[in-house]
Symmetry: C2
């Protein structure tokens, strides 16, 4: 089959590799109907994370079950399914508490590689969620978003306790930040302040529910959010970048007693303990337990209540993955879908 391989920073190739097979009895193998490139794939692409060996990329997927192991009972060949970037048993105490991304038996799909025609899905019963019926082209795009960026933005909004009456600030205008806006809106937020300097992303932010746009950064951004909130700061802040600047900005933009939901993978971030102590915010984040939200997200998508797939602003065939990486790296695209 064809798969996307990163050989070195900037060096993405589509190559032929062996088809995946069932290894554990709890595995399934799916045929992907679409995959995509994640903002987090850019860290190794840009050399910010080391590339130690040629690596099959990708962790977002929707598709049809082709094979199941003997221990798989809840999905069968032919099922249309979505899973998240972490395979999880969905039965351990951590999963049952809603933290499937930290399942006792977790397998990171990024280590398997889902930018490919087929993928092995470990712990298939716990990981995969069936889609009722066959999705339209538009629903397919939204389901693929649910696999990571929507689920992550949704978790960020839940972690930030976005809800009725709240003012939510969103740091980061990538796909996760934008879909965090969609989530905050669905969760009932009264006011949503998007932080963005890009006209196209501002437009999408407004489409998803942003009521205010802040173009400033750093101290000025914090001052602007305070100004918009009667001096108090946001009730809820979504952090969807993962840098020192974005974390500091998120914490400082939040009022005492407020909530910061952080989902940008931390790169070189150090938090000052006293600063955090005096901020009096709630801080919660980490790898999003997308599996927790998938049933609800699939339902919202298949009944036409949300349309997160519009976050994909460039669609390319799998063979042109390298161009997809370049477009995201150069910020010509927010999120790239690869047709399989």
């Amino acid at each position: 089959m064809r798969a996307v391989i990163l050989h070195a920073p900037g060096d993405v190739r589509v190559e032929t590799v062996e088809n995946p097979t069932i290894i554990e009895p709890t595995d399934a193998v799916i045929r992907l109907t679409a995959t995509c490139i994640c903002g987090s794939d850019l860290w190794p692409y840009r050399g910010i994370e080391p590339v130690r060996r040629a690596t099959q990329m990708g962790h977002e997927y929707v598709g049809v079950v082709e094979q199941v192991g003997d221990g798989v009972h809840d999905v069968t060949v032919g099922d249309y399914v979505v899973g998240s970037f972490v395979a999880s048993d969905n039965t351990c105490e951590i999963c049952r508490a809603g933290y499937q991304s930290r399942c006792r038996h977790q397998v990171m799909m990024g280590r398997i590689g889902a930018q490919a025609e087929h993928a092995r899905i470990p712990l298939a019963d716990g990981t995969l969620v069936k889609v009722p019926g066959t999705p339209t082209e538009s629903q397919l795009r939204s389901l693929l978003a649910a696999s990571d960026v929507l689920g992550t933005g949704w978790f960020a909004a839940v972690a930030a306790e976005a809800g009725p009456g709240t003012t939510v600030a969103v740091v980061g205008d990538g796909a996760v930040g934008l879909l965090g806006i969609l989530a905050a809106k669905r969760l009932g937020a009264e006011r949503i302040i998007a932080m963005s300097r890009h006209a196209d992303r501002q437009a999408l932010a407004r489409r998803f529910g942003a009521t205010d746009i802040v173009e400033e950064r750093g101290d000025e951004a914090v001052a602007k959010i305070k100004e918009l909130t009667n001096g108090y700061g946001a009730h809820s802040t979504i952090e969807a970048v993962g840098t020192q600047e974005s974390m500091d900005q998120a914490i400082r933009a939040t009022r005492p007693g407020g909530h910061v939901g952080f989902v940008g993978v931390s790169h070189g971030v150090e938090l000052d303990g006293l600063g955090l102590f005096l901020s009096s915010v709630h801080l919660h984040g980490g790898p999003a337990p997308v599996r927790r939200f998938l049933p609800e997200l699939i339902e919202l998508i298949m009944t036409g209540q949300i349309d997160p797939g519009v976050v994909f602003d460039l669609t390319l065939p799998l063979d042109q993955a390298a161009e997809g990486y370049r477009a995201m790296d150069e910020r010509r695209a927010t999120k790239v879908l690869l047709t399989v």
Copy 2:
């Protein structure tokens, strides 16, 4: 009046200073019936926080209202009252959300100094809570604990979401940690793991509700807590020290999705962003909004349901404050009450 003055690290004296008076119309002046020495007073006493000038110490108090300003309506001369270490208006949005320790108009009582015979209390209507009737000697001690250490331990347990069915780990066996145990027990925790190496404090921990004692520290302590929790870690962890080691220990002892309530004032703590991200814990803390809990705590004390005053294991007259500081510094006493 007499007051406790810190002149330099290790140099505590009881001196005669001017009696406080009403400055703002929202002030009250109270006659203290008791005050005490806080673990946080030891930071400047030990020179870990700088002592830039002679400073009147203390921020914990119970007493009787002696004078009120023209703008005070809810307390009157003769009322028996308790307040917290932060004076607050109790009307701003932050106060109404339960974060009176970060009130928009907050005044830190430590800047006024409550180890004295009288104290000016700013924002008296918002700050002071009336005690029904006149407390017994034992109730007086418990009310004084409510003023800070009980209220802080209570907040830590609430921030850590201690509740029915939870396993709570407590890092720190000072007065706050010990009263965090009492709070976790009252909030319904199923299992409470106290971390302590001191026999007297272990005994008090058990009296307050601890079910297990861990004497190990660092990696070994974390391993022990994992062992006691089927490998998962505690649901809820109270951090009541404020050092790098204690914060790291608290975060690592907590399961993914669990909650860390941190109330030890951070001293030189730096949190690794990626470590926090991957821990998937909820982190919340800061200066405790004791005012939020005072009505409930006073009720529990005056009806004999809790007895936090036993945390005071040394009682001295105000004049012997210097000996009180020495005893706490040398860990001969957990918490010192000063009679006025």
